[in-house]
Amino acid sequence: MGATVIRGSQFYFLTVNFCIGTTLFVLIPSLVQAGGRDSWLIPLWGGACGMFFALLWIWLYRLYPGLSLAQISLAALGRPLGTVVATLYYLHFSVIAGFVLRNLSDFLTGTILPKTPGPVFHIMFLAVASYAAAQGVETIARLNQLLTPLLAFPFWFVILLATVNWDWSRFVPAFQPETLAGVFRFHTILGFPFLEPVALLMIFPFVDGKTGRMLMAGIATAAASISLTVFAIIGSLGVERTTKMTFPIYSLVQEVAVNDVIINIQSVISIILLTLIFIKLQVLYYAAFETLRQTFRPVMRWPLLLGVSMVLAGIAPSIIENGIQNSEWRKNFTFAHDAIFGLGFPALLLAVTLIRLAAGKRPGAGRGVQAGAGARSATGKGAQSGSGMGPRTGG
């Protein structure tokens, strides 16, 4: 039947869009402030580190094939402690989703819809997200697959149109020691977006093959895309103006003028960003919902969906008071906050697992675990696909 299995390519696009998500319009001013003319290097080294972090998650998943993050924490730490960790993950996903929602409404009220109250956007997005989350991961993956070409082509097309204002002199002098120091001092990029894909561990068990490779490729593609966008923004807007703008990518497209006929096409970019953000929200919503569901196993799903939506609708307007607080938070705490959940807990789970493996029957225990896990996944998947996890348990 294969109802809940998504293809590797679908997972790849999900990873790409998840990583790009809010990054393109929230992070760019502070990124350019930190790295100046060379700031397009920041996403590249950030992405390289992100791939390194992803190795940790993949390693963890290989020890528990067929299990999602919430199930892994229950399996590794036992019921009481595992519940605590899973609940913390739920809160983490909710907080990021709250930020995502808030960034979205801030963007829209700051640009094209100044009079619309923020909660309207939150509630509308949450309504759709909860519906898709209830339909399951396959729906989300297919939706994303359907939307990706509709996002990518117009996006790069308008960026290409904007290059009429290109000026190479905006990049010189390049690679000065002081700007390079700024490039590598900007640690926010590690947390946001490259530690956030830990939420994708909730989707791992549903991916049909090459999960790790697709995750790595997705992060690399996202890093390259962000870098290219930053490069285009510096080349077309210049460092001086980019650092002073709230939404440089919006202003960039706003200034596109093709023969005085095609002007004011900024709504194109608004819609693209809106959809990208929705995908990020969708994944986070799903992760938060599934974490709770798999941890507490309620009989009915709808109260949980309603609860998750209500919590998010509450977090979004109250998580920050204004954009200045947001950028302060990003500058000072994003990396630390994301590192706890992206590196700290996975490392803890990994350490506990390895210690348990070492304490148990030494060589046999490892294989026993994996075989056991394989059996688990087989029983789990047996009803659905029958083939899903079995072959990969050994590797």
């Binding site: 399996a75 399951g136 688990r376």
Partner: protein, 400 residues
């Protein structure tokens, strides 16, 4: 081993449950599907109430469409004035004989105060429609404001989310009232008329540079480079809303504006003006590629030549050097046309030498005028060399 049994139990329970949920579409405890569908439809219909257009809807006939913005500041009192030139909705869609056919095509609204934001919001004392700045075509600032400080102008334009920063800035040579209350023939809207002329002047006479928009101004100022903005003045004895098209006069001098000279802006302040020859020289040094027409002198006799920048080589560093290759054309050489190869060589050398002198002269005055060249600290250090080549001949090979 115990842990793994637990894990097995947990996960087995979980996945099993999910599988069941998948396989059975409607669990027993939910209402029948008809009810459910009705509930979903109702919920969807209710969420439609929340769609965004309830707050931010705008109707075309509620908008005051701005075509040109004017800014003035009294340096002594700090009092600022904004002028919004708004399209007259009745003339915007008019056909001959229809209502509004003999009304002014634009209305200029003017308001003053201490802060640009306050002025903008108090504008509704006199303006009955919502200000809509997405399609404005030009910004005009008064000369006294330009000589004082242009930061306010840049900030105001960059602040408004709906207004683009890619519109040209002009400096008014005369009091703002005079400029903003003058109508132009041919093109109905002065803002449109001015913008069209700027692009013609850029391509056909090289009297206007390429980078003259608000965004270019902001960027160049932040980099401590200069920008040369076109200057605007009115034509006619008594510029008034009574305008040649309406009063039926053929004379375009009756009420019009003209673009003359260039204002050098540096550090958000106007530091000097350039005349036509200096403007051509400056735009050539900047690497702008538009045709220019100049009368040169060859053996004491005048000769009018058309020229265009072909290739430009810049060498930066301690001893900056600029080498310009000028392509010449004989399109307007009515006085004299060279006959032989030898004459042509002399013509090319002479023209190159005269242009070179002018460029060097501009570089010498650069410091005084406040001019800079891209990535060159001091224009006086630049060694300029010009090479001219005849590339095009005209429709006749000898004048009558």
């Amino acid at each position: 081993m115990r842990a793994w049994t637990l894990a097995k139990h947990v996960s087995g329970g979980r996945i099993g449950r999910r599988a069941t949920a998948r396989l059975v579409p409607a669990p027993a405890d939910v209402p029948p599907s008809a009810w459910r569908r009705a509930a979903v439809c109702l919920a969807l219909a209710l969420t439609a109430v929340l769609l965004a257009s309830c707050w931010d809807k705008t109707e075309l006939n509620e908008l005051a469409i701005v075509t040109m913005i004017g800014l003035d500041e009294d340096p002594d009192t700090g009092r600022k004035t904004i002028f919004y030139q708004v399209v007259n909705p009745l003339t915007a869609v008019t056909i001959k004989g229809a209502a509004g056919g003999n009304q002014a095509p634009v209305y200029t609204y003017q308001a003053s105060g201490r802060s640009l934001g306050e002025i903008r919001s108090s504008l509704y004392r006199i303006l009955p429609r919502k200000l809509f700045v997405s399609y404005y075509r030009a910004v005009v600032v008064s000369e006294r404001m330009a000589r004082h400080d242009l930061r306010d102008m840049v900030n105001m334009i960059e602040f408004q989310p709906e207004g683009r920063a890619s519109v040209p800035v002009l400096v008014a040579r005369e009091p703002m009232e005079k400029v903003m209350y003058t109508l132009t023939p041919m093109e109905m809207y002065p803002g449109e008329s001015v913008t069209l002329r700027l692009s013609l002047l850029k391509d056909e006479s090289l009297l206007v540079g390429k980078r003259i928009a608000v965004r270019d101004l902001a960027e160049r100022m932040e980099r401590s480079e200069s920008v040369v903005l076109p200057m605007l003045e009115t034509v006619g004895e008594s510029p008034s809303p009574e305008f040649s098209r309406l009063t039926g006069t053929v004379d375009s001098r009756h009420s019009n504006m003209q673009i003359t000279g260039g204002a050098v802006i540096r550090d958000y302040r106007m530091t000097g003006t350039l005349n036509d020859h200096q403007l051509i020289a400056y735009n050539l040094l900047k690497g702008n590629r538009g045709w220019f027409v100049r009368q040169f002198r060859l053996d004491g006799k005048p000769i009018t030549l058309t020229g265009k920048l072909g290739r430009i080589e810049r060498r930066l560093g301690a001893a900056p050097r600029i080498l310009l290759h000028i392509d010449l054309a004989l399109y307007f050489a009515v006085e004299h046309i060279p006959k032989t190869e030898q004459e042509l060589k002399r013509l090319e050398q002479e023209v190159a030498a005269q242009l070179e002198d002018e460029l060097k002269e501009l570089c010498r005055q650069g410091q005084k005028l406040g001019l800079t060249l891209p990535n060159i600290r001091n224009p006086e250090d630049v060694r300029v060399k010009v090479i001219a080549h005849l590339k095009h001949i005209g429709s006749i090979n000898q004048p009558f």
